[in-house]
């Protein structure tokens, strides 16, 4: 290609080009490498994020339990009035009996703190179930304190100095004693899944938040789906071309990009202060999230309606259906999979949202499982936010665990959306 020819002028251009090729190839490689690096970086971040959460959170699904021998002394527990018994005294006695050499108030308090405060409630529940146990000596597995739990899971290093360690030397000695006697073990953490929030990590669970999320999403879905689809139908099929309709469209597009926290301000000022709706209720949360997800649902529903070919509507009109009948009986059913996909994605977005809910008081510490949409409640992402703020090491683990649950729900919803799209994808 670059051999000289006698009859033409020296081929200046091609020589210059060939001379520059090495440099250009290098720059091409550099550029491509940059692209690869960016992708790798983005995916690396994702891996790091998920990795850090899983590595911190897998332990949340297990809880350490210890076995105590207790004497259900009839003097401490009145068979007539089971709710008033001194159950924690029984537990403490059991602990003292195991380690008779412990003396002094401070030492004893250290010893008692090995088991969870909830141990007494568990014992109480057991006795109420079987009142015949009173007066007997029984063995009972009770949850360990969160620090013991963290230690037993190996997250506290024995080798660091005692004063830098939450678990002290004598506590470690006692725990080792438990280990020797096979009185300590890790079990599946059912509390984490069926309890409400608590100040004690070992008694805290996500069920309250899950139920709160459910009610909030239920309200959101019930409001945003019909309203969103109705708006989409109006704008796509009936709206005349005028300034007002343009204004609506501009509004929808802008609302889709308004920061979520602004919706929280709206919820606080309008729903709570103006209309006097209760604070912290999932109903208000649902209202706020409805306003947030409406643009998403409207935009995706319109796209779905638009993708139904006009010939179908014309065919219905041609056999004498009214425009309304043509849309509700023919166009809408065909657009439904697309609309549902958009709705599920909108719901997934709403499920992960927390900032606006902080504004309307869903950030309160709520122990009870909400029983309705007007009860004070919180939602899963806000629960994560609350736990993430707690200093206890065991809450760190539970926060990550709750994140894993939340991500699980999101994956599930997205998978349904993907399957729906694949299943009903249609090319006209």
């Amino acid at each position: 290609m670059n051999n000289q020819q006698a009859d033409t002028a020296p081929r200046r251009a091609i020589d210059v080009i060939n001379a520059g090729m090495d440099r250009r190839k290098r720059s091409e490689k550099r550029f491509q490498l940059l692209g690869k690096l960016s992708i790798a970086l983005a995916i690396g971040f994702l891996a790091m994020l998920l990795g850090s959460i899983v590595s911190k959170g897998y332990g949340a699904f297990q809880q350490t339990y210890v076995k105590l021998d207790v004497h259900l002394d009839a003097a401490k527990i009145d068979a007539e009035n089971l709710n008033k018994g001194n159950y924690s005294g029984v537990i403490k006695e059991g602990l003292r009996n195991m380690f008779p050499d412990v003396s002094g108030r401070r030492e004893k308090r250290k010893l008692y703190s090995l088991v969870s405060q909830s141990a007494a409630y568990q014992l109480q529940a057991k006795v109420i179930e079987e009142p015949g146990l009173i007066g007997q000596a029984i063995s009972i597995w009770v949850p360990a304190d969160d620090e013991v739990d963290v230690f037993f899971k190996g997250h506290i290093n024995r080798d660091i100095a005692e004063e830098d360690r939450r678990i002290k030397d004598n506590q470690i000695r006692w725990i080792d004693h438990f280990i020797e006697q096979n009185r300590i073990e890790k079990r599946f953490n059912t509390t984490f899944f069926n309890a409400g929030d608590s100040r004690n990590p070992e008694s805290a669970g996500i069920w309250g938040a899950v139920v709160g999320s459910f009610y909030t999403l239920l309200v959101t879905l019930l409001l945003s789906f019909p309203v969103g689809v109705a708006s989409a139908i109006y704008l796509e099929e009936f709206a005349p071309k005028n300034k007002f309709i343009d204004f609506i469209e501009v509004n929808i597009n802008n609302l889709a990009a308004v920061p979520s926290i602004i919706f929280g301000l709206l919820g606080l000022a309008i729903f709570i202060n103006f209309f006097g709706l209760p604070r912290s209720a999932s109903f208000v949360g649902g209202l706020v999230l409805t306003l947030m997800t409406l643009p998403t649902i409207i935009i995706s529903s319109r796209a779905a309606l638009k993708s139904v070919p006009p010939s179908i509507k014309q065919a219905a009109l041609g056999v004498g259906a009214s425009p309304m009948q043509a849309i509700f009986y023919h166009v809408l059913p065909l657009a439904m999979p697309g609309i549902l996909t958009g709705t599920i994605l909108g719901m997934a977005q709403a499920l992960g949202e927390s900032a606006p809910l902080l504004m309307i008081g869903m950030v309160a510490f709520i122990v009870d499982i909400p029983a309705g949409i007007f009860d004070p409640s919180t939602v899963l992402p806000v629960q994560i936010f609350l736990w993430a703020d707690s200093p206890e090491r065991a809450f760190l683990e539970r926060t990550s665990g709750a994140i894993m649950v939340l991500l699980g729900f999101l994956v599930l919803m997205n998978m349904v959306a993907v399957i729906l799209r694949k299943q009903f994808e249609r090319r006209w």
Binding site: M1, Q5, R11, R12, A13, V16, I17, G20, M21
Partner: protein
């Protein structure tokens, strides 16, 4: 190289006689049968600029070009005609490896340019495309000024760095493309603001600016009005004094007006090659005659 030149010469020796014979027997001898897809006519020329041997192109499962042999001579205009989807554009894009940009496209066979296979492993497409320029069906000036459109090639190839040299390239290329008088006062205005015909000439000027040896034109006038078309055809004739030009065209009149040689493609086969006169006046193949007389196309 030598061997090829010899064969080329042999063919050259045979060539006039054969053509003469064909002329004589034009109306009397039966045409080559429609079912026969062997190429008729001389695919080889003496001292070719490019020589294609046994080219096959596949798009996925589709066999777009089947065992094609063809030479491109120096300083000639070779036109390629044929019905839509016959592979003529695909073949044109093989000549500067533009097919590389299409993922599903596979090209086999050898295309020699001055004796070097351009599909060879060691060959870089960048210098190849610089020496085999291409003008597309739809004028596609970059969304930049007229000056920057011309200078895009010289700048990326580093053909000139000096401001005066660059300016000289702009002036020369525009003059060669016959556009200078129309745009000399607005070199800094966007190239997309020109009329269709001017845009196409701008694209030709842009191609000339990198000093190619061959210019490929893929239906360059199909999007243009007759006046612009005439301007471009005139330009082609001028350019053919210093470059080889391969042009794919839908217009038989255009092929007849501008080209020295014509190749007729049909469904991936090269059916007939010959001088333009011969192909249009005395086609040897029945399919060629069918196409030229307007039975399909």
């Amino acid at each position: 190289m030598n061997v090829e030149q010899e064969t080329g010469q042999k063919e050259m020796e045979l060539n006039p006689a054969q053509t003469k014979e064909a002329m004589d027997l034009q109306s009397k001898t039966p045409k080559v049968d429609r079912e026969n897809r062997e190429t008729v006519g001389d695919v080889r020329v003496d001292d070719p600029r490019m020589r294609c041997t046994d080219i096959n192109v596949h798009y996925g499962d589709k066999h777009a070009i089947k065992g094609l042999n063809l030479d491109v001579g120096k300083k000639e205009i070779l036109s390629m005609i044929g019905p839509s989807g016959c592979g003529k554009s695909t073949f044109l894009r093989c000549l500067n490896r533009m097919n590389d940009t299409i993922d599903s496209c596979r090209v086999t066979g050898t295309i020699e340019m001055d004796g070097v296979d351009i599909n060879g492993k060691s060959i870089d497409v960048v210098p190849l495309r610089a020496s085999v320029g291409m003008v597309f069906q739809k004028p596609n000036p970059f969304p930049k000024s007229i000056r920057e459109n011309i200078l895009f090639g010289p700048r990326i190839h580093g053909l000139a760095t000096d401001k005066d040299d660059l300016e000289e390239i702009v002036v020369n290329s525009l003059k060669k493309a016959g556009l200078w008088d129309e745009v000399k006062d607005r070199l800094d205005q966007p190239g997309t603001g020109l009329s269709g015909g001017q845009q196409q000439r701008l694209c030709i000027a842009r191609t000339i600016a990198v000093e190619p040896e061959i210019i490929l034109m893929d239906e360059p006038c199909s999007a243009l009005d007759p006046i612009s078309t005439a301007a471009i055809e005139e330009l082609m004739l001028e350019l053919s004094e210093s470059y080889s030009i391969c042009i794919v065209t839908h217009s038989m009149q255009q092929a007849a007006r501008v080209s020295n040689r014509t190749a007729y493609f049909h469904l991936g086969d090269l059916i007939e090659v010959g001088t333009t006169d011969q192909v249009f006046n005395a086609p040897l193949h029945q399919l060629t005659e069918d196409y030229i007389t307007g039975r399909f196309g």
